[in-house]
Amino acid sequence: MNKLRSLLYKEWRDQRTFCLAALAACLLLALGALRIHGSALIGPSMYVDSVLPVSCMIFAMLLATESISRDAQSRVADMLLRLPAPRTSVWSAKLLFVTLAVVAFVLLLLPLDFLLSLANDTGGFAGHQVLAQPMFWSFTAALAAAGFALACVLRRALPAAIVGSLAVAALPFLPMAMLPFGVAAGLDPYRVWDWNYVYLSIWSPQQLACLGLAGFLLGSLLAFSIRHADPLGWRRGLAVAGSVACVFGLASASSMRRALSAFDIPFGDANAGIEQVSPSPDGRFLAVQMRKEWRVNPDWRALVGGDLAWMAEHYEVWLFDRNDSSWSKLGGTYQALLTRFRHGFSQGPWDARGRLSVITSPSAFGNTAGGVQLIDPKSRAVLLAPPIGISMFDALEAVSGLGVWYTTISNSKQSLLTLRWKDCGIEWAIPDDLAFAASPEPGVVFLQRDHQLIRHDMRTGSERVLRSLGRELIRNSIRVSPDGRYVSIFSDGTTTILDAIDGHSVAELPNRARLTSWSDVAGRLCLYATSLGGRGLMWHALDEQGRSTALPTTLRDCEELGAGRLIGFESDRIECMKLDGSERETLYEAKP
């Protein structure tokens, strides 16, 4: 023990200046990060995510290199190796010292990390358990192998270069090989890496190139400080590979880490917006769709070309449980509420049994093959996940059986849209620019023809004129209520609600009023909004007798929460209140 202590003390005396200088440098970086926080140059989260880990790894690599090369070059190593102790104990002491120094380095910086995290306040949700490790290690190992192969080629050590090249080719398959084990261990397989994460990373191509070059130079210096015979260049190749992997690999790994978790939207993030709020049928849960935009680093766009989008959109679904006022986030990288509005047929994300339908994708921006999932809101478990790749329409049918009774076949050559009644096999072709809406009642379609609104029954082929129109309707101006009892038409800035059977007028909304949603409450027909100019919207509930009731919110959107309550929301807040405006509470508010 005394021997080890003696050797460790010697190492500490050798390296303490470097250690303290490195620590001071990191502290200065952190202070800088705090000082310029908000100026969009570097935020504390980026510091915590990228600068600190990379600093730690560079510190470890430099310390290890310095510890060995300093003694080797000054011949102090000869003295150490003449000590009456196993030679391995001398090298082990160095390794132990480097390990302890790195641990101390991290421990000293952790409080700083914590303070920076507080400054950014990213708390809210627990992190996901994802398959980060295999991907990270295979990526880094592939870089190491590439560096090794390059170094061996430069050294004209062909056998070693071939081994390195084969390793480069083989390593990307490592995550695939490890995926089943990760899934079996309960990890989330729905996260993949794609190039968007590099484009969106804090590292510009120039910085990455500089880092890679620095790694290569560092490795070369290390390689040529190796004094032992190395005829095939293996040791030098490994030295270069290790350095390249450490520096360049870690820089890239920070992008990967962002890919795996850093695109997650923190609770209260002012840069994220609420897109949609949908209460469950029993009113216990609120499904909230969050959206956040990420700007692509323009340097990457200049490098890759104009095809690269300026912006990428990330969606998440959060659940609010009114029983305990808790927020939680559904698993997965990219998720959006599955709402359908097509051919006048609209359906929310909840089914009658209180299960939630979401669109999910394994990449943070939904640009890889995605699918539909049916979620149990209580356990947040995935109840059903149709195979990825089938159409949303079929997936919707598969997960919740919403009773969409038809499929469409588009014939662009003849500008025809053919509705095919799945159960009966009856087909009916209509011009594809025709304004029409499909009723939830199988076989019933509403369309406008010759300035008339017509109800068409595919079973019998019979048609009934519901109403004469002053002018032609535009597409999507016909909507059918979820129960199929009412049809709304929008014409000349006015929305009229008709009985779906005989066409008599049930109600007419004020001019420029917008029908936002059909009501699920008995006796209530729909919600609609009128503009208050620049002061928001005035919301109303319309009952089946055609009476309007003003609702106590002026926010951007409004949803019913059972018969007696209301949810009002806009981009940064969600409010809940009774219909008379009492018991108003803020469920969510973005932090400034």
């Binding site: 021997k3 010697k10 005396r13 003295m79 000590l83 009456p84």
Partner: protein, 304 residues
Amino acid sequence: MTHLTPTTNSIEIRRLHWHFKKKQPVLRGVDLALPVGSVTALLGKNGAGKTTLMRALTGGLPFPRGTVSVLGRDPWRERVAVLRSIGHVADQTELPRWMKVREHWDLLAPFYPGWEMSEARRLAERLGVDPDARYHDLSRGGKELACLVAALAHKPKLLLLDEPFSGLDVLARRRVFDALLELLREDGRSALLASHSLADVERCADRIAVLHEGRISLCGEIEELRRGATRLAVELEGDSPSWTPPLPAKVERREGRELVLYTLRDAESLQDQLAHDPAVKHVEPVERDLEDLVAAALGEVAPS
């Protein structure tokens, strides 16, 4: 290998072979024995393998053939035990720049069970080494003395000195050697001293071993070797260009009828034999010195 009795020989080497590569043999069957209590100088040309031999003795080299015993132990297999028992001063010992003499002792002490800090202080005081001096700031002689203190503080039974004093000036060298001799004599330690300086060897060694072409070409006590080795000045009766001396004598120099012969053994019988040779007019011994012995052992004619 069989452990040798350390009471007989501190070091015993038998048919030791070592080569850098197969085509570059360095040691080609070295046989050497170092009696307990003796101070043996290891001599040889540059690149003869002295440092290699030292490394083999300190467990720094695996050797493919032959046996090496240091204080009865195999230095390769029992390297730690051997290093604990010996003191080793290399040709150039480097320490970190920040390290003081005392801190060097602190570093070494845990590795040597026999280390006594009081002994280190005593030796330092005696050799005039300041324990609080920074090693890097010491003069060359001061560094050698500091290393000598560090090598002796654990009271080793055997001291290995690998050209330790090659860079010292005359006064420093004298001071170091005087101290070294005194210390060696006091405790009856054995020592193996690799050196190029015959003056140093004559000053402190009682035995020499000459390493030449991978083998020990000459080994023994200096005085005994001196007695056995002879240079003879011979004057011939007439010009006899074909005359050759009887073995084992060799011709060192020839100028007309006058020759200088040398031999490493059987000098008296050779002189007697020459005295009765009818071709020889006159024969008489000339001065003998260590340099002649070594030169002869190195296969070279000694300077006249």
